[in-house]
Symmetry: D2
Subunit: 137 residues, 4 copies
Amino acid sequence: MTTPPPVRFRTQRKVRFADCDPARIAFYPRYFEMLNGIVEDWFEAMGWGFGEMHLKRDIGIPTRRLEADFLKPSFLGDVLDLELSVLKVGRTSVDLRTRFLCAEEVRWTVNQTLVLVDMKGLGAIPWPDDLREKLAG
Amino acid sequence: MTTPPPVRFRTQRKVRFADCDPARIAFYPRYFEMLNGIVEDWFEAMGWGFGEMHLKRDIGIPTRRLEADFLKPSFLGDVLDLELSVLKVGRTSVDLRTRFLCAEEVRWTVNQTLVLVDMKGLGAIPWPDDLREKLAG
Amino acid sequence: MTTPPPVRFRTQRKVRFADCDPARIAFYPRYFEMLNGIVEDWFEAMGWGFGEMHLKRDIGIPTRRLEADFLKPSFLGDVLDLELSVLKVGRTSVDLRTRFLCAEEVRWTVNQTLVLVDMKGLGAIPWPDDLREKLAG
Amino acid sequence: MTTPPPVRFRTQRKVRFADCDPARIAFYPRYFEMLNGIVEDWFEAMGWGFGEMHLKRDIGIPTRRLEADFLKPSFLGDVLDLELSVLKVGRTSVDLRTRFLCAEEVRWTVNQTLVLVDMKGLGAIPWPDDLREKLAG
């Protein structure tokens, strides 16, 4: 792997009782919920809250593709550092890499393509200029 | 792509209210919960119920890697056909491909590597012979 | 307690890995998801699918009140019998009692008031005549 | 209603995309997950983290009974104030009242009985003295 992309947005998320399974580790579908959460927070920080987007503008940013590597399990009570990087901004899409770490140990990495979509027709639409600029960093 | 692998296990799963989000489509983290469900059902059908595995034998089959393509959204009330294929059986792992379809339309495909793990030490362990044989089909 | 109300609708629901918590029993918020599921199935059986209701007619049936007794825990792999009874049909509401049993053992009982609501204004509205008749049994 | 009990523990919780349903309000089973979260945080603040309790001591605090009133719906993006009060400390149980508010508007109230349980036998056990003292406030 070459130089990692710079981190563009960070949050923390505790692994809660509700996130864990009978194997007593974080249940992996919950990782995707946490991932959805950091994307939600990041868009809100850019002035594009999900409430505004979905309820008022009828647009959304569904995931089109993702690749995830589960490197180490996470446990009840762990505090995860979520770090989001932008790999590429397309006309209607954006490629992200997000890593979950606990005390420097990388637990999970995911590369993900999001697409801006008109929720009425469910077709891809170009990023508005102001948002595209913010995505580009 | 060449000939698709034969389907080894099938289930159906309705897209319920609880699976959908304010964008009014299936919330993608729930797809992974459904995926976990078909793997659970398949292992149970092979005589390896998750209850027995996790609670009595202290073994599990966490996901190590996955790649997923979200081709079309799913809607409240859709009945999905889940089809699981085996791509490769390793010494301690198995590679699966699962597709979610609705009335022949492919909605979602996921390639996934599961690893058999001793939940105490969290290290990979070889498949028991009887299970390995069943995985191989 | 006097004679229990007659059961009006039944489903079965397996306690899955995704329903269980690190205490290795069913996580109680998931009981409410299962409860939502039987109500969804019952309304669909009466010709009022949630998709139709929420997406086309913009009406819903949120819960206004509930009382629940957790009598015995449920475990991974248990098959629960869900039994729904109607206690009372009001002008805009309905009172239900639902019980979850496993092999005759009552695990959970919940009394619940649902209200028919116009999702635009979020105000209560009267049951349409045909639905009211079906609710009344 | 008489004087409300004093608030003993507070947290905030944003209503996220993952918490909302196709009716575009918070999905009520998620309220119970949030409720589980504030209890988890409160016990941790008293020195009884759920990880320690469940994974090391094999004890838990399942809910035995609850009554909940859904007064107003919550929406994507709302920041909820969660306020927990202690109604009564029993030998093996504790009665709590928790309210969810948004900008002073009471959205949800729940009265709940938790029981300290030995997770091996699932029988109720008395509060340890130090914890009982903390519960009593």
